[in-house]
């Protein structure tokens, strides 16, 4: 009801506006024409020319010309164009005008895209950061989101994998969900695409800008998907009356940024190996004898004298200098009615491992056509095909005394269970995937009235992927167990989104500006998958090409389908009083098929207030601030952690052997997980929770924007407090029900922090320009509640009373969970023993409460923290929090210098105060020689002991702080005169990961959210040679 009233009143207001125009034009009307140009004399297309105080107006054509009839002779014209200062011209009886628009001096009045609309940056009430893509694209990347690292305060990006086509982890203002996604929502040109981190479908060079919506006022318009923040991506569109061809070529050479930590001296390796065995009471390996597998291990003496095999596996496994390529061609052309742009991209990423590659071919086409002066249509399509030949993870660390080939020229193996011969696997194992993605858009934009715009957009996305695998009968673990194993996995998804919204924008009585947007959205997502696998191949020359050739008794097949629907209504109301006080209210109602049947609809409101203090006389008189603006917002957004069908009753199925054959048994309860050591016990679920719903995030944001020195120095500061409740969790239920678990909404997490961005131009003259950006953010994450301790099965730390549960998987190395979620602590803290150096004597070990082998000299001296159990021994009650993988703060500094035609930029990115669990801290060629021995009674390293069951302790935790010279670019632009075919050529060289300052002992401290470092290979340093040609 209410909505219709709003629509009606909007129409009434518009009519009243047009009526007004008639009243004015009653004096003396005339026709005016003119042309709008910029400071260089170039025509400005699309500028709006409005008779001030009325709704009468037009936009300039391709040549910058405009014509208005029926204009009062004493009226004024207001000329507006994005990025330019607004001009007001008195008509004063003239009929022809040449209006010069002056570019806006600073970024302050850029237009930024917000959800379902755009707004002048100076009119923002929420916390929105804008990034221009051109700053980032000197480094080739598969996906743009990885490049956001360090660029926006409050955005954490972790690129922990260096493999070709690897994805990134993106977080805005911390983690807030335990079982749902923590990744921000990515919206491409209005299309809600999905989780950030793997946006490989969009060529970064087709992107113009990215807006990061951080607070609830900005993100609540995305309702049940807005809680993790939103990244809006605007892709390149043709400009009016421009014909341009751009070619961008990038060639990248990669290499390790640090030395590999490998055994180069087999004698030392063998001596330490023997020492380790002897200390454990085992027979040493290197004694010049054949072991149980029939492999001869030379003695130390032999290694020192006659032994010749010393294979440098890394030379065989790694490419010396992989060269990658990124080529983009863009064409745009337009006339006054139709604009089109097309681009094509070829991207090749050669990884460090031999034959490990990722290729991508992309095409993008968009066209925009003006059907009428006030009716525009747009359509675009983006097609990407990617191909990955995965040959990663090869054993470059293989024992150097092993030869590559045996005497017959076959791959040499140390036994039937040798699954790590890198060349054999490269040769015979298959792991290929191919993907195809299509994203298409069609939209209609109709200026129904000067104050009323209607926009309708239809999006369709299709994605598919096929993965081929084959594991040979020999050499690979899976293949050996299954006598050859081949599989084909298919997956495809389709996503349809229809959205329509109307925007009313009008100023009343000069001081009251009201913008009202109301809209509707429908989304339908479906995905399907199927998988085929066969084992037991007689002849494996076909790999997985003919799965039917496998043993028909052991075929395995699977398929799945997943469908969700989301229906939403949304609105945003902006009210500005006197260009000083700004109010924003947004609301979205989401109905999702995923929610429980008792909770189908969710409502997400937000409100914000901003005061442009610099518009006040008393501030202006200070002559200090160009901008002084305070912002405050509060709102609620959600996270659809639930997956489809999770709220339904669900039966299980299992094969039961009956009547001499396997039959399918079906009934209540399905196996939803495993528990116990090595996951040997089953967990059962299946009772529906009809009340299951979204996670709710309530966020307060207080912000301050300031500009000084003629807008040359800009400062943005934000403080936020974000509380996420109704966490989607599984609770335990009484086992007499026949079930273990059930999904409920329970628990609360808080993220609180500050963000500061300072950017400015330090120096500028005809030749020089020196500018920089400093970004600082600090987030404090805290688990406030994990629900009812009994129902959720929390454990209690006896010493502190802290309640916690394990997070993630058990570590094989420590036979323990490494991370916990603990009430009152940040997410993912490490939980283990404290150490106090190394045990130096048995007496010392025993008196420290250690027993058995743990008390021997050279072992870790674990600390007996808890004596409440009356036991003066080290046991599991002595465990405590030994580290926090969350950074204390993050900061970055980017400096851009240009001198005449040279441009130079350097970007430092730093993460501070995060702990990293370095699981490779001891078992490394560089560290093992520093072991404890009777002659070297160190307190830094334990003795070698092949039998040790190492406990997880603070000994393995290191400070993961680092500052990286993330990128550095030097470019030179060659100018051309108008006669030349080329308009602009820029040549540049850029370095990625030039240098890292850190005290971390492993290769690189940039690891995933849980802070676990597990080796891998050194971070790559990439040199890119690029050339941009514009014709």
């Amino acid at each position: 009801m209410k909505f219709y009233l709003i629509v009606l009143s909007l129409l009434a207001v518009c009519l009243w506006g047009t009526g007004n125009v008639r009243a004015q034009s009653a004096s003396r009307s005339m026709t005016v024409t003119g042309k709008v140009v910029d400071q260089n004399g170039a025509a400005v297309t699309g500028a709006s020319v409005v008779v001030a105080g009325t709704t009468k107006g037009t936009t300039t054509g391709a040549d910058g010309a405009f014509s208005l009839t029926g204009v009062a002779a004493d009226a004024r014209l207001t000329v507006n164009f994005i990025g330019y200062k607004t001009q007001t011209v008195e008509i004063g009886g003239r009929t022809s005008f040449n209006i010069v628009l002056v570019e806006e001096a600073t970024a302050v009045d850029e237009v930024v895209v917000v959800g379902y609309g755009q707004v002048k940056k100076s009119d923002l009430t929420g916390s929105v950061a804008s990034v221009k893509a051109e700053k980032l694209t000197d480094i080739p990347a598969n996906s743009i989101d990885g490049l956001l690292q360090g660029r926006v305060a409050g955005v954490q990006v972790v690129n922990s994998s260096q493999d070709p086509g690897a994805s990134s982890t993106v977080r805005i203002r911390g983690n807030s969900s335990l079982n749902g996604s923590n990744a921000p929502l990515v919206v491409i040109d209005g299309f809600p695409w999905g989780d950030a981190g793997d946006l490989k479908q969009i060529n970064p060079q087709d992107i113009v800008s990215m807006e990061v919506l951080k607070d609830a006022s900005a993100s609540a318009i995305y309702g049940s998907r807005g809680a993790n923040g939103v990244i809006l991506i605007t892709t390149r569109k043709a400009q009016e009356n421009v014909t341009r061809i751009t070619l961008r070529q990038q060639t990248t050479v990669s290499g390790f940024s640090s030395e590999l930590n490998l055994w180069r001296d087999p004698v030392l390796m063998a001596m330490l190996s023997n020492e380790s065995s002897i200390n454990a009471g085992l027979t040493p390996t290197y004694i010049g004898a054949t072991n149980a597998n029939g492999v001869y291990y030379p003695s130390i003496a032999e290694l020192q004298t006659t032994w010749t095999t010393n294979t440098r596996w890394d030379d065989l496994v790694f490419r010396s200098t992989p060269v990658s390529n990124n080529t983009t061609v863009q064409v745009q052309s337009s006339n006054d009615r139709t604009m089109f742009q097309a681009s094509a991209n070829y991207y090749l990423d050669n990884g460090m491992y031999i034959e490990d590659t990722y290729r991508k071919y992309g095409g993008n086409f968009s066209v925009e056509h003006k059907l009428l002066d006030n009716l525009r249509m747009k359509a675009s399509a983006n097609i990407t095909s990617n191909k990955r030949h995965n040959n990663g993870g090869l054993a470059y660390w293989r024992n150097p005394i092993f030869p590559v080939y045996d005497d017959e020229g076959d791959y040499w193996l140390y036994g039937a269970q040798d699954y790590s011969h890198p060349l054999a696997l490269t040769d015979l194992q298959k792991n290929d995937s191919k993907g195809l993605d299509i994203i298409s858009f069609a939209s209609v934009n109709w200026d129904v009235l000067p104050c009323l715009n209607v926009m309708a957009q239809f999006n369709y996305k299709h994605g598919e992927q096929i993965t081929d695998k084959y594991f040979p009968k020999k050499y690979s673990e899976r293949g050996v167990f299954n006598d050859g194993y081949g599989s084909i996995d298919n997956w495809k998804d389709d996503n349809i989104v229809f959205e329509a919204y109307a925007t009313f924008d009008r100023t009343f009585a000069e001081k009251h500006r009201l913008t009202v947007m109301g809209g509707y959205s429908y989304e339908n997502y479906q995905s399907r998958s199927s998988s085929l696998a066969a084992k037991g191949f007689i002849n494996e020359s076909l790999g997985n090409e003919n799965l039917a050739a496998g043993d028909s008794e052991t075929y395995s097949i699977g398929n799945s389908f997943y469908k969700t629907e989301l229906v939403s209504a949304l609105t945003r109301i902006n009210y500005t009083f006197d260009n000083r006080f700004l109010f924003t209210f947004t609301a979205r109602a989401d109905g999702s098929s995923k929610f429980g049947s008792n909770n189908k609809w969710a409502f997400f409101p937000s409100g914000a207030f901003s005061w442009k203090m610099h518009e006040e006389r008393f501030i202006r008189n200070l002559n200090v601030f160009d901008v002084l603006k305070i912002r405050a917002s509060y709102g609620i957004s959600g996270n659809q952690g639930i997956s489809a069908y999770q709220t339904l009753s669900r039966y299980g199925q299992h094969k039961y052997f009956n009547g001499g054959k396997w039959v399918t048994a079906i009934g209540p309860g399905y196996q939803s997980g495993t528990t116990g050591q090595d996951g040997i016990y089953a967990l059962w679920s299946g009772i529906p929770n009809k009340g299951l719903k979204w996670e709710t995030t309530a966020q307060v944001d207080l912000g301050l924007d300031m500009s000084f020195f003629g807008n040359r120095l800009n400062v943005t500061f934000d403080w936020y407090d974000k509380r996420t409740s109704d966490l989607l969790r599984e609770r335990n239920i009484a086992p007499s029900s026949g079930y273990d678990k059930m999904w409920v909404n329970d628990g609360e997490i808080r993220n609180r922090g500050i963000e500061l961005t300072i950017d400015g131009v330090a120096f500028q003259n005809r030749d020089w320009r020196v500018g920089g950006t400093f970004v600082f953010s600090r987030n404090r994450n805290k688990v406030l509640s994990l629900g009812n301790a009994v129902q959720t099965g929390l454990k209690t730390d006896l010493r502190t009373g802290m309640q916690y549960e394990y997070y993630g998987n058990q570590s094989e190395q420590f036979r323990a969970y490494t991370n916990i979620l603990a009430v009152g602590q940040p997410m993912y803290v490490f939980y283990g023993y404290r150490t106090d150096g190394i045990v130096q004597s048995l007496a010392e070990g025993l008196s420290a409460g250690l027993s058995g082998d743990d008390a021997l000299p050279g072992e870790f001296k674990y600390v007996d923290l808890y004596n409440g159990d009356g036991l003066e021994t080290v046991d599991e009650n002595d465990m405590c929090i030994i580290g926090d993988p969350n950074p204390d703060w993050m900061a970055s500094l980017g400096i851009d210098v240009s001198w005449r035609r040279f441009d130079f930029s350097i970007f430092f990115n730093g993460v501070f105060g995060n702990d990293v669990l370095n699981t490779k801290r001891f078992d490394q060629p560089s560290n093992m020689p520093m072991r404890w021995t009777a002659d070297n009674p160190t307190n830094s390293y334990p003795r070698l002991n092949a039998n040790r069951q190492t406990k997880l302790s603070d000994w393995w935790v290191e400070d993961g702080s680092f500052v990286r010279i993330q990128t550095m670019t030097l470019g030179y632009s060659i100018p051309f005169s108008k006669k030349d075919a080329a308009r602009k050529v820029r040549l540049y060289v850029s370095a990625d990961n030039l240098y890292t300052f850190t005290g971390f002992e492993g290769y690189d401290p940039e690891v995933g959210m849980t802070g676990i470092y597990s080796g891998g290979y050194p971070r790559l340093r990439k040199w890119t040679f690029g050339a941009d040609f514009t014709f």
Binding site: K2, R650, P735, S736
Partner: protein
């Protein structure tokens, strides 16, 4: 108010778009798309049996039936839960994972059975089939409550499937009488509904199984009351009447011309031949097969009994013959106690043939023996699979053997001719002479009790026999050493995970 209106307005518009946000299951079964055909019903019945095949249950049968007596020992580095059971660390029982797992899977079975009991009566399928399926569901529910009652006493009683959170927490049976009444009623219902098999079906139960189990239930509470077991002593039933009921129902299995499928197996080794799960002894046996995909479908029970030798295939002698059968070696979890090994009478084949002290290689050379110390204990070979595939075997826990029902009959009946006949068959088959004739009832029952110990060794019975004879606190060294009383041992405590989460307890 205002917000509510706004939501309604928004909702109204959205509904105009005629969008239905209901979800329909795809790719998985649920109440909505199941229980339509006879095949559905049978599949639901198989799902009941399937629950006890999981290792949480199948391994616990021995942990709760044998490991906790003096006949069996755990290995040195066994899981804490199993060491606690062996050592009767009663303070840890509430959180003991083996007890918790056994408890949980009993109820998973019950819930699956309850679903069949609720849904199948309304199905329009052949009446004979419907009765059989329902009978099997009642049987499995009774079987589970029987085991819960023997181990935990009064436990929560579910007789309808759990469908909502509110259904998950129900009170326990109010008395031991009520608890056992449920067991007896369900076995009786099952017996009425089930047919006698025309031929044994591995992994399914028939009327013989129902009446055999019913006889065991009557014997359990009759003997427990007679022997003054705490709490059982206060039960209301008449001991002699219940002994008579046990005789009656055991008789319907061992002394019934209508029941011809199950009988004694003449050959001791054939009972334990993995290729003969449908042998005449196996009234109720689990159904596993080495071709399964996951443990529970196939079995690793053999690995539990067998000690580690070298990882290579070992060979065992078949009885007194020179025939050899291969098997893998094991993990040595279920270890024969030497005192029990030495307790057998001389010449007992159940000692000489079924407990192994020497293993051979393919050529017939001894590769390990208890004498040379390479075998850490003489092991039970009732569970071996000569056709093992790696760790996968078809070895199946024996849930109800004909000999068990025969001994149940004998113990309940006392020294009757039929009882003597049954006991003597078992003794003769084991190479022993007849039981001395003319024993009084008390002595006769004691001798039957001894016979049960040797005949049913390592099949998950010993602890329950001791328990119903009130002998746990006297016959188990670990319990005696701690001075535990009969009251402390009569039941395991309800697992804490249940009492913490069930406010109705």
């Amino acid at each position: 108010m205002k917000i509510k209106h706004l939501i309604l307005a928004f909702g109204g518009i959205s509904l105009l778009a005629a969008c239905n946000l209901d979800e329909y299951p795809y790719g998985f079964y649920s109440e909505d798309n199941f229980y339509k055909t006879e095949a559905d019903a049978e599949s639901a019945v198989n799902y009941i049996y399937d629950a006890i095949n999981y290792i949480e249950y199948s391994r616990s049968i021995v942990f709760l039936g044998d490991m906790n007596t003096d006949d069996m020992e755990p290995k040195g580095d066994a899981a804490a839960a199993n060491k606690e059971l062996d050592g009767w660390k009663i303070n840890n029982f509430r959180t003991n994972t083996t007890l918790g797992n056994f408890y949980k899977y009993s109820y998973i079975t019950i819930n699956r059975a309850n679903a069949v009991i609720k849904k199948v009566p309304g199905m329009n399928i052949d009446e004979g089939r419907r009765n059989r399926f329902l009978g099997e569901a009642y049987f499995m529910r009774a079987y589970s409550y029987f085991n819960l009652a023997r181990n935990f006493g009064c436990v929560p009683v579910h007789t309808t499937p759990v469908e909502t959170l509110e259904d998950t927490a129900v009170p326990a049976a109010e008395s031991l009488d009520a608890m056992w009444k449920l067991v007896i009623e369900d076995f009786k219902t099952a017996g009425t509904l089930l047919p006698f098999f025309a031929a044994p079906e591995t992994g399914r139960a028939d009327r013989a199984a129902a009446y055999g189990m019913l006889a065991k239930a009557y014997l359990y509470i009759a003997s427990a009351k007679e022997h003054g077991v705490p709490q059982y002593a206060a039960m209301s039933h008449d001991v002699d009447e219940y002994y008579a009921e046990a005789v009656k129902y055991a008789g319907l299995v061992v002394d019934n011309p209508e029941q011809t499928v199950f009988r004694f197996d003449d050959n001791l080794l054939d009972i334990y031949d993995v290729e003969r799960p449908a042998g005449p002894e196996h009234i109720f046996i689990m159904s596993m097969d080495r071709t399964g995909e996951s443990e529970g479908q196939y079995s690793k029970i053999s690995k539990m009994y067998l000690p580690y030798v070298s990882g290579a295939t070992i060979y065992l002698k078949q009885g007194d013959s020179d025939e050899m059968v291969p098997t893998h070696d094991g993990w040595g979890e279920y270890r024969t106690a030497l005192s029990f090994y030495d307790a057998f009478a001389a010449g007992d084949r159940r000692h000489d043939w079924l407990i192994v002290d020497k293993v051979y290689d393919a050529a017939g050379n001894v590769v390990a023996s208890t004498a040379d110390g390479k075998l850490s204990y003489p092991f039970c070979r009732k569970f071996i699979d000569p056709n093992f595939a790696g760790d996968k075997t078809s070895t199946r826990p024996y849930l109800l053997r004909y000999s068990d029902v025969a001994l149940t009959y004998a113990e309940a009946a006392g020294p009757t001719a039929k009882a003597y006949e049954l006991v003597n068959f078992i003794r003769n088959r084991a190479g022993l002479g007849d039981l001395e004739p003319g024993l009084d009832k008390k002595t006769f029952r004691e001798r039957v009790m001894d016979e049960r110990r040797f005949e049913l060794a390592f099949e998950g019975n010993r602890c329950y026999d001791l328990r119903r004879w009130n002998r746990l606190h006297t016959d188990i060294a670990e319990a005696k050493g701690q001075g535990l009383t009969a009251e402390q041992m009569v039941f395991y405590p309800i697992p804490s995970v249940e009492s913490d989460l069930n406010p109705n307890l």
